[in-house]
Amino acid sequence: MNSSNNVERHPKTVNPDSSTFSLTVNRERHTLTLDNRTTLLDALREQLKLTGTKKGCDHGQCGACTVSVNGERINACLSLAVMHEGDDISTIEGAAEVGHLDPMQQAFVDHDAFQCGYCTPGQICSAKAVLEEIQAGLPSHVTKDLNAPIEISDAEIRERMSGNLCRCGAYANILKAINQVAEVRS
């Protein structure tokens, strides 16, 4: 589907600088008509009122806006919402089941892995993905043997979390929290 199709299907969308598209966020489908400039981050926060995902630097440097798109973590600030037609997006609001936290959320609480909490949603979304990436065999800069199974280590976790900054410096406890989830899983 391209924008000209959108225009035909949605006659109100006559402004060439905006588009209509659909995406799924935390298992709920939404159809939005937005200015093409809207980032996925702004669409989540300002349109869908899912303000758990945070805007830090807005330039892909801090990781506060980390969300999962089709199972892969990305910086929501460096992605246009209109480019996510048909995508399946998970944010921090989708992590917990009713009545109990996601194990990574619980581990962050158990280990006091935050201070101000602003980077925490991004840290948790990223940490969940990191463990999946290691399990899937995705190599990192500190992986010694590219052709052997990857073992979870402090060095692997630190390297893979380098796209998430914490100005409070809760890194030591973030590491402990991620290790707790990794140990329970193994």
Binding site: M1, G63, N75, M83, G137
Partner: protein, 316 residues
């Protein structure tokens, strides 16, 4: 960010034709560099052509025994491909030393090549930059400028920015070629050396791509035997651009190939420097960095490059 119109295309040749036809149009794939620059209003496209649906997201064997990497293959997927890890380890190593996990999931092979050659003054719209505004002057070459990170060779009196890609340095040492489709549907193949242009008097021109021309794939020749290594030296342990990086492929007899990142507007490699590899790091760098024009602040890169290669050669 300035307003723009947007369309999706499903065919690379159609994308190229559209890009040549619509004024001030740009392709967008991962968007991690383009959107960053659009937010700064350094890039101001009037129309974006989303090429995400063009199906160029596969890695396939070539008849010659190499690999064809579709332009949309993500940096993460490419680094993790078992064939790349086994037969082109220098590429896998270079990819995982670049950016962050989040960015590598989004950044594409074609987009990585096309990220802008840049420096802090290119990003600072309050300062003159010949890349942003041809003829405006270069803040990096003014007295007292911060040039510690910037280029030492291949630079010009108009621009001393470096190309920040790690991936491209590995592709250079692998003799990879860039495959493109032009706006008239012609398929072209360019070596990395042909693809990247030196700044000269026109630093705003970074590649040999014609109007509308789109990268469709990167072609890897058959695997080169030997030790593959990528050593990146930077100011912090992760998620930082290289001060200097060295891509190395070395056969058991000591011969091989060397390319440098972090020192020039393009991956830096010379045949006579490759030929000097059996004589050691000093002999290689005497040739590879011959003609270097460092600033006072970045002359350390000459020493650092030699020591980085020496450190790699000293490993088993």
């Amino acid at each position: 960010m300035k307003a723009f119109s947007y369309e999706r295309v499903s065919d690379p040749a159609q994308a190229a034709a559209r890009a040549a036809e619509v004024p001030v149009a740009k392709f967008i794939a991962g968007g991690t560099n383009l959107l960053d620059l659009m937010k700064h209003e350094i890039e101001i496209p009037k129309h974006l052509i989303d090429v995400g649906g063009t199906g160029l997201d596969e890695i396939t064997p070539t008849d010659e025994g190499g690999l064809r990497i579709g332009a949309l293959v993500s940096n993460a997927a490419l680094s993790a491909d078992t064939r790349v890890r086994k037969d082109y380890a220098v590429l896998s190593r270079a990819l995982v030393s670049g950016a962050s996990g989040q960015l590598r999931n989004k950044a594409t092979t074609g987009g990585n090549l096309l990220q802008r050659t840049r420096c802090g003054y290119f990003y600072d719209t309050g300062m003159p930059c010949n890349k942003r505004s041809p003829g405006a002057g270069c803040a990096a070459l003014s007295k007292g400028a911060a040039t510690r990170q910037l280029g030492i060779i291949g630079t010009s009196d108009a621009c001393i920015a470096t190309h920040p890609s790690d991936m491209a340095v590995a592709l250079c040492v692998l003799d990879a070629e860039v495959e493109t489709v032009t706006s008239t549907g012609e398929i072209r193949r360019l070596t990395l050396d042909e693809f990247y242009q030196l700044p000269g008097d026109t630093p705003e021109v970074e590649t040999a791509l014609q109007a509308g021309e789109m990268i469709t794939a990167v072609l890897l020749p058959p695997p080169v035997e030997g030790r593959h290594a990528y050593y990146k030296v930077r100011d912090r342990a992760s998620y930082a651009f290289a001060l200097v990086s060295v891509a190395l492929i070395q056969a058991p007899d000591g011969t091989g190939r060397v390319a440098l990142g972090g020192v020039a507007p393009k991956p830096w490699r010379r045949d006579d420097a490759d030929a000097a590899l059996p004589q050691g790091a000093s002999a290689v760098m005497a040739r590879l960095l011959d003609g270097a024009r460092p600033t006072q602040e970045n002359a350390y890169k000459l020493t650092l490059a030699e020591r980085t290669l020496a450190a790699l050669l000293a490993q088993e």
